[in-house]
Symmetry: C2
Subunit: 270 residues, 2 copies
Amino acid sequence: METWMRFMSSDGGIAFGRVENGYLHEYEGIDQPVPTGAVLSLRALTPLAPCAPGKVVALWNNFHALAAKLGKAVPAHPLFLIKPAGSVIGPGDAIRRPSSYAGKIAYEGELGIVIGKRCRDASLEEAEAAIFGYTIVNDVTAAELLNENPDFPQWCRAKGFDTFCAIGPAIVSGFDWRAARVVTTLDGTERQNYPLADMVLTPAQQVSMISHDMMLEPGDVIACGTSLGVGSIRDGATVTIAIEGIGQLANTLTAAHAQQPTVVAMAGQE
Amino acid sequence: METWMRFMSSDGGIAFGRVENGYLHEYEGIDQPVPTGAVLSLRALTPLAPCAPGKVVALWNNFHALAAKLGKAVPAHPLFLIKPAGSVIGPGDAIRRPSSYAGKIAYEGELGIVIGKRCRDASLEEAEAAIFGYTIVNDVTAAELLNENPDFPQWCRAKGFDTFCAIGPAIVSGFDWRAARVVTTLDGTERQNYPLADMVLTPAQQVSMISHDMMLEPGDVIACGTSLGVGSIRDGATVTIAIEGIGQLANTLTAAHAQQPTVVAMAGQE
């Protein structure tokens, strides 16, 4: 089992690697990580999301307890939507209420699968080998938008707003997800506490099946779906999602008026 | 009005730029294109999709004639799904039937908006300025998957398969979309012929509204939705979508058994 994290260093560069005893052992790449030789003190580093996915594939209805509560059949194939790369934030980053939306914003604590190897039409074995490790995802949702239009459920929009995909704090390779639970607290009050063993489609099944539909790239993340206890975050509240063995992912919802003004059209900047 | 295309050169490199009189005048970048000085004969170049979008935002129900036929109200805000970058193919590339899907595969001829400048919370004016130009999109769809599960319409999966997003052949800046029509032919028979002026939300409105939800990046594509005449492509048939002033986008559907075997897990390769 190894813990991998991604940081911004004081000079603005990005460093990725293995974390051990207060130090980052820097590596290049996620499909065949190669040590660079650099060892950096964590005190000089600011955590970012532990990877930069091209896409986040987010599952709906993948836990038996939730399916039972909703009165729905469990799926035979992953039922998913895509959250764009621009929605991703890391540990401690603010979830920003969109200026155009005043309704409920919900947290959804989930296990995240991080893809390590480019993967397509994978067997279960190949899928298992393609998984780099596991992380935590908050699949934040503008709940009242989902069914606002009776003709078209707006899954991508409701879950795709900028900052609506918190990932982190780390990726743990060799993590035993079957023994773990997801515990979500809202301003210190426990709201979710569910066993990952209650998953309908396992991570290897998800990766195998989704890879038969779409190429999965190194760094892509699959959010495994959530279970009971989803609720709203009031402006200013902090959601903390904990999976023992991975860590805690904490993010605070900021109200629209409390935010920094956004630069609307930035030509050529990166 | 200028025509921009993207090519693979004989040495395997990628060249982007302005096309004029049989030559490519090469440029770097799409948000502030800078000429490199290179001028290449088109005879040495193979067309690719004219940009490499991080995401494709695809609209549903954005034409009055189609809304009327479906008996649905026209939307006040774009109703969209996200097609992943891995679904994108270019002019002449094969649309590949997924090995796991034997049902109807439909074509949808659409106008595509190519974003030129990073764009968020854009006014209509800022949105207009953020548009680099216009292209053609075939929003290919596994039609029978959409409502296969009664609890969850599978928009992202049905439209997100690898090769299910043909873009091209060119991006035309300064293109007057209001005067143009989309004409789709299937093996030479005309199947769609609709006026772009029948759009519900205009390109500037789409860019402005979507940019209030999600950051739009240079190279991202918004597919404006299709109108009447959507139908299935039988295996082996060629769909050609023409917009006068932009060009023709032609792609052939290949059957699963006729395809090259896919490499399932490619470690470290790019």
